[in-house]
């Protein structure tokens, strides 16, 4: 860890101004990922602007605007509070499940909702500063492409980067069509649709998101939907708790009798961002919610996967997990 200056921001405008003044500064919220990365010498900010005391932690029903009737979750609220809030549990149990599937109780108590979206990949070549990594040190190469890549991407990777994005919460947010509200030092608050928030690596893997430098996540907005009765978050991992996903699936269904009127599926552990299974969603809409349609949709989605040397299993695991998660969503969480 390099020496750094610690600044505590009293309000949002001061925080943003301070951040704008120093391009080497970073915001500190829960610190559960950033401090680890600093200890490992991966992140080297010379200033931390502590934003954890800013009043951006409210969870409330959205009164007006395009998402009226939905729920807004403060960017600096704790993951634990979001997972357990009645508005979230009643209206978006998928989000609650996904948050609780991630990390550990202690980490969720510290981690913030905005910070969760901004956590970096857990690729070991990214974390080990003696290894090549285009995300950490552009131009040094990708250590994982020809290396140990069992945990890595099967969708959307590039020769420059095969890392996967680690958040569980974000997979549910992708399925729920969340909107990320961000605020910079200049100009009004802007809204980024969730599908556009995280990026694929392409030739700039150092950029994880489309957040501009110095912008702060103020809130996550969840539009109103009818998925609560039929949603499920399935996470498959190497141990039962406190492990990143091999594959995870967030499913939300709206049904008319047994006919699917609306479907949302997002996958975790397979790409550089939460992977919306648009192909599977399209195939399901208008169909009966039955095994044969689930299998066909899952197969169509996974047909486009491009596995690496060690993660071929994710294709079959993804296919099976989509089918299982659809069944679980259909049966209200009962297998």
């Amino acid at each position: 860890m390099r020496p750094f200056q610690y600044t505590r921001a009293q309000d949002v405008p001061t925080a943003l101004k301070r951040r704008e003044a120093n391009p080497n500064a970073q915001f500190l919220a829960g610190g559960t990922n950033l401090l680890d990365l600093m200890k490992e010498d991966v992140e080297r900010p010379d200033e931390l602007i502590d934003i954890s005391r800013l009043s951006l932690s409210q969870i409330k029903t959205i009164a007006s605007g395009p998402n009226a009737g939905g729920v807004s979750i403060g960017g600096l609220g704790k993951n634990t509070d979001a997972a357990n809030h009645p508005l979230v549990r009643q209206n978006y149990p998928l989000l609650s499940q996904a948050i609780l599937a991630g990390a550990s109780g202690q980490l969720r108590n510290m981690a913030t909702n905005g910070g969760n979206l901004l956590q970096r990949t857990r690729c070991p070549y990214f974390y080990d500063v003696s290894m090549p990594c285009n995300k950490r040190a552009p131009g040094t190469g990708c250590g994982a492409l020809e290396g140990i890549n069992r945990m890595h991407a099967i969708f959307g990777w590039s020769e420059q980067c095969v890392a996967v994005y680690p958040s569980d919460m974000a997979v549910a947010l992708a399925a729920l069509d969340a909107v990320v509200k961000v605020q910079g030092a200049e100009g009004p608050e802007r809204a980024i649709p969730f599908a556009d928030f995280h990026r694929l690596p392409e030739s700039t893997p150092e950029k994880d998101t489309n957040l501009n430098a110095g912008e702060l996540i103020t809130a996550l907005e969840l539009p109103k939907n009818q998925f609560a009765a039929h949603s499920y978050y399935l996470k498959v991992r190497d141990r039962a708790s406190y492990a990143f996903a091999l594959v995870s699936v967030a499913v939300g269904l709206e049904l008319n009798k047994n006919r699917i009127t609306r479907a949302r599926i997002a996958l975790g552990g397979v790409a550089h961002k939460p992977w919306r299974a648009y192909r599977a969603e399209e195939l399901l809409v208008g169909k009966e919610a039955t095994e044969v349609h689930f299998v066909a949709a899952a197969a169509a989605e996974m047909a486009e996967a491009k596995p690496l040397a060690h993660n071929g299993f994710k294709v079959e695991l993804g296919r099976r997990s989509i089918v299982r998660a659809l069944h679980m969503a259909l049966n209200e969480g009962k297998s």
Binding site: M131, S241, F244
Partner: protein
């Protein structure tokens, strides 16, 4: 005044429990040493070659830095003094990735860590030998492990109607004790005190002294508590002597604790093994041949080979047998003892093969084992001091509900899950090693207190408690009037907490000392007694204020004529998710015959720990080397998956009643190692019973069951 009830054999709560849960037990770097500076190690980023240039200028100028130590200014040490794994900055050569290449000493830990990042190193790299899959074919006979042959295995295999010939692979595993390896070194003139976690206190003393060129009496090891060790603190590693050298150089006490990331390549590991198991049997299940051929790796300069064939030597009666090892040097840190060394990995191979054979014979795997139960130790012809395999299997099966097992795999479906039962046996030698003890009695009025001192180690498993119980019974002094002082090389020398010899060796020496002390008091009284009085009674009746005695205990000669071992049988019920391949161990039962159980509470906890790690071995734990560069890609506990609470279902521990005073006077056999032996095999066999899939490469992660 004294408690007549026997305390040995009862579930006394830990006497050091309150200290630990209130944070008052001082682990290595907790000791309040004044004015200590802080050291941080930095490591090589190549696996093979040498350091061409090392630029420490920026680090030396960084705030708070007192010294930067590299091979260029490191004093010469005796590299054959007993410190394991090299890495003592004795030259520019690099023989594994993550070898220590220097350390920074600074006023604060943060300053030392920062300065360590500022050191620039240029290397002359060589081709690294790190791809075990490719190098395995080059493996040769190890220096200390010749082939052990009995009869003609080849012929018996060729003749057999029923046989199994398979290779079982186990990965590199790490110890990852909760307390990392950590040291404070404090010089007092030419003598040094080393606060340092050590499973063998006197071993650490001798290794440090010899390596530093000192006499043993110039080195004092203080290690009252260990936060686990699992073999990695049995021998000592470079961090111990580097701290001592650093303290000498900066003329101040120095603290050094390895980081979790550094623990992956600083303190040994469990080697990767390919074990070829060949079994042959008659159609009715009589074994005719058993071959256990292990191929593994060691370090470039040193050899260590965990004895994977040990269980195979003595578990079954078989006329034709072969135990062999082949080892290839690699640019990786030296492997070392890791819980149930050889037996935990070896039993996975052996007991999987036995299960495969039982399936081919259409026999119950318990009956196949019992049919091949040996009368004597087949490896040396000695009689057993006692052997409980059959009782472990029978009583364990009954308690577990084995009769509900469906012999045909893949038949027991429960919703989305396939359920299976598995069994596997294990064993570990029971030895008493030389150990001394000093017992002191003090009287104030009718109040008698006792102090017991020996250089024993408590890994966190209950040494303090069992020694207090032993002394309480042997002296007639209540438990709360007994002070046990261990973990200091100033105390009488003792065996270590390694190889399951701790409880046996320590408790017998304390018992012997208490008996001798009582004898001395009786002699001192000059009286005749019809009923043997306790030492406490004698202190009071004879108005003696202080008395102490010391003994040096060792195993009896008679014990040498017998083969003494702990035995177990392990039963697992697994639920395998048919969609995702995820395995959950819903129930596990370990039936163990380990002689007298000094304390059923702490003993149970040890078995729970062994089973938990065994389940980790079966399902989650694996460290992976990048075959291009020799680095571990598993660098933290986020990627190296030790089991968590949710991975562990209902665990049941059953001890078989056993009186074995041939093994040692107290009849204690040790349970630390045997608890993990056979566990992975039971889980793997249950997975087969559930799914019909035989996984021969640990860990059994979901991808292997799709």
């Amino acid at each position: 005044m004294e408690d007549k009830k026997q305390l040995v054999g009862t579930p006394v709560s830990r006497v050091d429990g309150i200290l630990k849960v209130t944070g008052k037990a001082d682990y290595s770097t907790d000791h309040p040493v004044k004015d200590a500076a802080h050291a941080v190690i930095f490591k090589s980023t190549i696996a093979a070659g040498s350091i061409k240039r090392i630029d420490t200028a920026a680090a030396e100028k960084a705030p708070g830095v007192l010294a930067v130590i590299t091979h260029e200014n490191m004093p010469k040490l005796n590299t054959r003094g007993g410190i394991r794994g090299g890495a003592m900055l004795q030259g520019p050569e690099v023989t594994f990735y993550g070898q220590h290449i220097g350390l920074v000493v600074a006023e604060t830990f943060e300053q030392a860590r920062h300065a360590a990042h500022l050191v620039k190193v240029e290397y002359d790299p060589k081709n690294a030998r790190v791809d075990f899959e490719k190098l395995a074919s080059e493996a040769k006979v190890p220096k200390d492990k010749k082939d052990e042959k009995r009869g003609d295995v080849k012929a018996a295999l060729a003749d057999a109607t029923h046989k199994v010939e398979e290779v079982y692979a186990t990965p590199i595993e790490h110890h990852h004790a909760l307390e990392p390896h950590a040291t404070i070194a404090e010089w007092q003139g030419e003598n040094v005190i080393l606060y340092n976690s050590a499973q063998i206190v006197n071993g650490a003393q001798n290794a440090a002294a010899s390596t530093l060129g000192l006499k043993p009496e110039q080195v004092r090891i203080v290690s009252p508590y260990l936060g686990g060790g699992f073999g990695s603190k049995g021998g000592q590693w470079a961090n111990l002597v580097l701290t001592a050298v650093a303290a000498k150089m900066v003329k101040r006490p120095v603290k050094l604790a390895l980081t979790r990331q550094q623990m992956f390549n600083s303190v040994g590991l469990r080697q990767r093994n390919f074990q070829k198991l060949s079994l042959a049997a008659t159609p009715d299940g009589q074994l005719t041949a058993l071959a256990h051929e292990t191929t593994t790796h060691a370090a470039m300069q040193d050899e260590f080979v965990e004895p994977c064939g040990d269980c195979s030597k003595l578990m079954y009666e078989v006329p034709n047998s072969l135990i062999s090892y082949r080892v290839v040097p690699m640019h990786l840190i030296l492997p070392t003892y890791t819980r149930g060394p050889g037996k935990s990995t070896g039993s996975f191979a052996l007991e999987s093969a036995v299960d495969e054979l039982a399936y081919k014979l259409n026999m119950d795997p318990i009956e196949l084992r019992i049919k091949n139960e040996p009368e004597r130790d087949p490896s040396n012809g000695k009689p057993w001091s006692s052997r409980t395999t059959v009782q472990c299997l029978r009583e364990g099966a009954k308690a577990f509900g084995w009769e509900k097992r469906q012999a045909k795999p893949g038949e027991n479906r429960q919703g989305n899950y396939l359920v299976g039962y598995g069994v596997a046996c294990g064993t570990y030698p029971a030895n008493q090693r030389p150990s001394s003890a000093l017992v002191k009695l003090h009287r104030a009025g009718n109040d008698v207190t006792a102090t017991v001192e020996l250089a024993a180690a408590d890994l966190g498993t209950g040494t303090y408690t069992i020694l207090a119980q032993t002394a309480a019974d042997a002296l007639g002094v209540p438990l709360n009037k007994i002070t046990v002082r261990i973990g200091d090389s100033d105390f009488p020398s003792a065996a270590g907490s390694v190889g399951s010899v701790g409880a046996t060796s320590y408790a017998n020496s304390v018992q012997d000392a208490c008996v001798k002390l009582t004898d001395e008091l009786m002699a001192k009284s000059g009286k005749q007694f019809f009923v043997r009085p306790t030492a406490a009674q004698l202190m009071v009746s004879e108005k003696i204020n202080d008395h102490q005695t010391r003994v040096d205990s060792k195993a009896s000669e008679k014990a040498e004529e017998y083969s003494s071992h702990s035995f177990n049988a392990n039963f697992a019920e697994v639920w395998v998710d048919t969609s995702t391949g995820t395995v959950r161990v819903a129930r596990f039962l370990a039936a163990t015959g380990a002689g007298k159980i000094l304390n059923p509470k702490t003993a149970r906890s040890q078995i729970l720990g062994g089973v938990t790690w065994g389940i980790g071995m079966a399902l989650t734990e694996e460290s992976i080397v990048d075959p291009r560069w020799g680095n571990f890609v598993t660098r933290s506990l986020a990627e190296y998956h030790v089991p968590v609470n949710l991975d562990i279902g209902q665990l049941e521990v059953l001890f078989i009643r056993e009186e074995d005073t041939i093994s040692n006077k107290l009849g204690v056999k040790g349970i630390g190692e045997v608890g993990i032996v056979g566990v992975a095999g039971a889980v793997a066999n249950a997975v087969f019973n559930a799914t019909g899939k035989r996984v021969r490469e640990l860990p059994i992660t979901p991808d292997k069951l799709l």
